[in-house]
């Protein structure tokens, strides 16, 4: 890691750990150093394959970047309603993506957009009170993990939170429950914390409510993606608990989610346009439709006629199957995704520098390249695409 400009920031989950590193092998293979995080280790294996295609391709035939950009621009120009999906990029990529979205009237929805929108909609409807990782680590005397321990998907969470594996401050509720059970548990908890009688409430819920009321600073942790299709309602109930507690003691929530650039692109689009994702700059101005601008639904309904898929962090999320013409800007191993146009791009934090938002939405972490990479960044390619399209009409 000779020319690394700072500590490595792991780009593969929204905790964005920067306390461990990467070893670069003789042939450019990467391995994790100083951590046994399975999520990071698995992600790094996708950067060891020297045989991966690193040339752009049109209809599977390798070509130069200019040819691929020209073909992609022609597809975008001919599209009546493009969809920008995946959105696996960093802040610079998001800035460039917005310009192109304005020029083409594209609808933008990230992979896992439904999970992202649960949090957005809960905020839009009721607001909420949240906290950050450093506050949790310094202050929390009770950490309620709603829906289960986050360790399975966020292996470094306990270390970051300063919690032991069997820490007495940790309390788990509604583990393994489904969406409806989540709602029941969250709403009963909210009522118990308010001091209302809830005859049907189970003993663990009653105990949890009592511990929350007794805590000085309680943090309610949840993974948005695990809360089901009506997660916004569950979040609203958890936030009601937080609001009730804050009348007498202190409490806050911490949501885990927004991986693969989703939270970052959402932040950037919100500041540029004023509206979060699932929006488009259409003929009637900006439109924001948190339910109907769902990429999966739009594809299924045939409501879009072109897919631009961005996935610079790995082979997942892969573009959905389907018959739509597609442009893919992605990890070299996504060449197999049968795109009309495929352009391999650098991964922020591996082949290029960049910036990503941490899960609490406060810290915008700097990312550094760990090896020299000849691939263009997502922002480079999108800027070329925008200029190939010309100024808006």
């Amino acid at each position: 890691m000779n020319d690394v400009t700072g500590p490595w920031t792991c780009p593969f989950c929204p905790l964005l750990c920067d306390s461990f590193g990467v070893d670069v092998g003789p042939h450019g293979a990467l391995s994790l150093a100083g951590s046994d995080c399975p999520r990071a280790a698995a992600a790094l294996t996708r950067f060891s394959d020297k045989a991966a295609v690193s040339s752009p391709a049109v209809l599977g035939r390798p070509c130069d970047l200019e040819t691929a950009v020209a073909k992609a621009a022609a597809l975008l120009a001919a599209s009546r309603q493009p969809l920008f999906g995946g959105l696996g990029t960093d802040a610079a990529g998001a800035r460039a993506l917005y310009t192109l979205a304005c020029a083409t009237g594209a609808i933008c929805d990230p992979a896992q957009g439904s999970a992202l929108m649960q949090g957005v909609r809960a905020l839009q409807d009721r607001g909420g009170f949240s906290t950050t990782l450093a506050e949790l680590r310094t202050r929390a005397d009770l950490v309620l993990c709603f829906g289960g321990l986050p360790a399975a998907r966020y292996p470094e969470f306990f270390a970051r939170a300063g919690l032991a594996k069997d820490d007495a401050r940790v309390l788990v509720l509604a583990e393994g429950a489904d969406g409806a059970d989540h709602f029941d548990a969250a709403s009963q908890l909210a009522a118990l914390v308010e001091g209302r009688p809830v005859p049907c409430a189970a003993a663990p819920l009653r105990a949890a409510a009592a511990r929350l009321q007794a805590a000085r600073y309680a943090v309610l942790v949840y993974e948005t993606a695990q809360l089901g299709p009506h997660g916004a309602l569950v979040i609203e109930m958890l936030q009601r608990t937080v609001a009730t507690l804050n009348r007498r003691t202190r409490a806050a929530a911490l949501a885990l989610g927004g991986a693969d650039g989703a939270a970052t692109v959402n932040q950037v689009f919100t500041w540029l346009s004023g509206l979060p994702l699932r929006s488009r700059a259409g003929v009637h101005g900006l439109e924001h439709e948190p339910l109907s601008f769902d990429a999966v639904r739009l594809c299924a309904d045939g409501a879009v006629d072109l897919l631009l898929w961005v996935a610079s962090f790995g082979t997942e999320p892969a573009p959905p199957d389907g018959v739509l013409p597609r442009i893919v800007l992605g990890h070299p191993m996504l060449a197999a995704a049968a795109a009309d146009v495929f352009i391999p791009v650098a991964t922020p934090g591996i082949g290029s520098d960049g910036h990503l938002f941490r899960t609490d939405g406060v810290v915008l972490m700097p990312l550094h390249a760990v090896r020299a990479d000849t691939l263009p960044t997502v922002a480079d390619v999108l800027r070329r695409l925008s200029s190939a399209l010309g100024p808006p009409q």
């Binding site: 700072g6 500590p7 920067d18 306390s19 802040a91 610079a92 800035r95 917005y98 310009t99 304005c102 957005v120 905020l123 839009q124 409807d125 009721r126 607001g127 909420g128 009170f129 949240s130 906290t131 950050t132 990782l133 450093a134 506050e135 680590r137 310094t138 202050r139 970051r160 000085r216 600073y217 804050n246 003691t249 202190r250 806050a252 932040q267 950037v268 919100t270 500041w271 540029l272 346009s273 004023g274 509206l275 979060p276 700059a281 003929v283 009637h284 101005g285 900006l286 924001h288 910036h355 938002f357 941490r358 939405g361 406060v362 810290v363 915008l364 972490m365 700097p366 100024p391 808006p392």
Partner: protein, 559 residues
């Protein structure tokens, strides 16, 4: 290198005492002296007859970028669904919003009104990269930010332990450098931290429940630190007990606590309330103005309120939580942030028929009109907290036109309309006073030597307003706006979208403090210490490649 002449305009430049017609010459982005045989040299000639010519406006306290602003946007899609029509020029990208517009629209709207710089007053160090990115995505405007100190646990711990003042000063110097800030703001001194420990109120001489330090100590320490570091903008103070009836007492104690050290008291309207009268809520504008008039170390901005929908976005979690029951619409966001800060976002609708809101409106105007020295009063609405910045032309008319002001007053809650001291104030601000409060004074308070005036060598941020009796119309849509010599707006239409520059200061400090900070971050932080500081190259990329505009510090002074 082409030369532009702006011919025959009424130049209002308070810094040079100009208030009369004269020609102005611009070359290479700067104001230049007239050259002999000038007619041959001039490439562009603008007839400014009938126009008032001022330097570009500078908003030194406007929440335009960073985490809480973006949370406010996310909280209020209804503010954005009421879309403006399609962009009027191909140069503008789609962006929308009324009280918290997207950054793109923020830049366009400010420039269309003749503003060329805006400063974000509440940057959280942990969120600094984000704040700089939003400001970099605010087109055309130059920008900068004040970093928040005085509620971070390390500062409070150092103060509580009685650490050497020099260490605290060096820490402040390090934070300013690391976050690329233009100054330091303290919000509810020690109060944001106090709320995390469940303290709900904190007076100037009350001990913070955990660290047992008082707001007075925090104010004195920070004001002295900035003074010794030579930071041109003095401590930017959001005082204790914002919005509380009777808080004039805290405000006067705050002024006293500063012991003559320079400080800028911000959105002072929200801190100038008495508790007289049947409703136990009264104007303390006169008391405040007397204190400001008597203390030349103090400058203020007003934070005027404007009737209608807005959203209050503040670092003051303690006060925002207390006010959250008044949210309209009924939702709000709060956050405890990284052991150093907080934020609270409460949507609010100021109503003419509300006694409290009507009085707040009158108090703001009274402060503008009762403080004698316009060089120490800056025109703000604390955007968006008192109202959106787009209401500035209306505010200017209220200040310049007494009959218009009294017409508006007559529409308000009858008790306020009948009894406000404002009714009897006859002062009408002059163009020169408006130019002082909207450009010359903020430039001077920030240490921007080449902005805010039209002297030779100044940056050619120049605005031409068509002189009109209706000052609101006049200040809404200038005929020409130049930014660094380039025409950026013509009669309300954006004509160019250069990336704005980034103002910051780099005070000197003893780097020995970094050893201690490294330990602190390892124990309490969530970011590797080597990732905390933003270098110049990274600032440039965050700010979209805009120019870096470091402002010189004074020679460090010890008191």
């Amino acid at each position: 290198m082409s030369t532009l002449r702006i011919r025959g305009g009424h130049v209002v430049d308070p810094q040079h005492g100009d208030d009369a017609p004269r020609d102005l010459f611009v070359r290479d982005g700067r104001i230049v002296a007239p050259l002999p045989g000038v007619d041959e040299e001039v490439d562009d000639d603008i007839d400014a007859t009938g126009c008032v010519v001022m330097a570009g406006g500078i908003d030194m306290h406007t929440h335009i970028g960073g985490g809480k602003v973006n949370l406010a946007r996310m909280l209020l899609p209804e503010d954005h669904r009421n879309n403006p029509p399609r962009p009027p020029s191909a140069l503008e990208l789609a962006s929308c919003g009324g009280c918290v517009p997207g950054t793109l629209l923020t830049g366009y709207r400010y420039v269309q009104m003749g503003y060329t710089a805006a400063f974000e007053p509440a940057m959280v160090a942990a969120n600094a990269r984000h704040a700089h990115m939003e400001m970099g995505d605010t087109p055309i405007l130059d920008h900068g930010a004040y970093v928040m100190l005085g509620n971070d646990e390390l500062f409070l711990e150092m103060l509580a332990r009685g650490d050497d003042f020099q260490h605290i000063r060096d820490y402040a110097g390090w934070v300013i450098n690391a976050s690329k800030a233009m100054g330091v703001k303290v919000v509810n001194p020690a109060g944001i931290s106090a709320f995390k420990f469940n303290q709900r109120k904190l007076d100037v001489d009350e001990a913070q429940v955990h660290w047992q330090v008082t707001p007075r100590q925090v104010l004195q320490t920070l004001a002295r630190a900035l003074h010794e570091l030579g930071v041109p903008h003095p401590l930017h103070v959001h005082g204790s007990n914002l919005g509380v009836a009777g808080n004039i007492e805290s405000t006067l104690q705050t002024i006293q606590a500063l012991e003559g050290l320079p400080a800028h008291l911000t959105h002072i309207q929200f801190h100038a309330y008495g508790k007289e009268g049947p409703k136990k809520f009264s104007s303390a504008a006169l008391q405040l103005a007397e204190a400001v008039n008597a203390n030349p170390n103090i400058s203020i901005d007003v934070g005027q309120i404007m009737f209608g929908q807005t959203v209050t976005a503040s670092g003051d979690t303690m006060r925002q939580h207390a006010q959250s029951g008044l949210a309209n619409p009924r939702k709000w966001v709060g956050m405890d942030i990284e052991n150093e800060a907080g934020c609270g976002i409460v949507p609010f609708r100021y109503r003419e028929q509300s006694y409290v809101n009507a009085l707040q409106w009158a108090i703001g105007l009274e402060i503008f009109l009762l403080v004698n020295d316009p060089w120490r009063v800056v025109l703000t609405t604390d955007h968006p907290n008192g109202g959106p910045f787009t209401s500035y032309p209306h505010l200017i008319r209220l200040l310049m036109d007494r009959s218009f002001r009294n017409e508006q007053l007559a529409r308000l809650h009858p008790d306020v309309a009948a009894n406000a001291a404002l009714r009897s104030i006859t002062r009408e601000l002059t163009l020169s006073e408006i130019a002082t409060m909207t450009r010359a004074a903020p430039a001077r308070l920030l240490g921007l030597r080449d902005r805010g005036h039209l002297g030779v060598g100044a940056a050619a941020d120049v605005v031409l307003y068509r002189d009109a009796a209706d000052r609101e119309a006049m200040f809404s849509t200038p005929e020409y706006v130049f930014k660094d010599g380039a025409l950026v707006a013509r009669a309300g239409r954006i004509t160019a979208v250069p990336v704005g520059g980034s103002h910051f200061v780099e005070p000197d400090y003893d780097r020995g403090i970094e050893k201690r900070l490294r330990k602190h971050f390892a124990a309490h932080g969530q970011v590797n210490f080597d990732h905390v500081a933003i270098g110049r190259d990274e600032l440039c990329s965050c700010c979209n490649g805009g120019r870096l505009l470091p402002t010189a510090c004074f020679e460090g002074r010890t008191t």
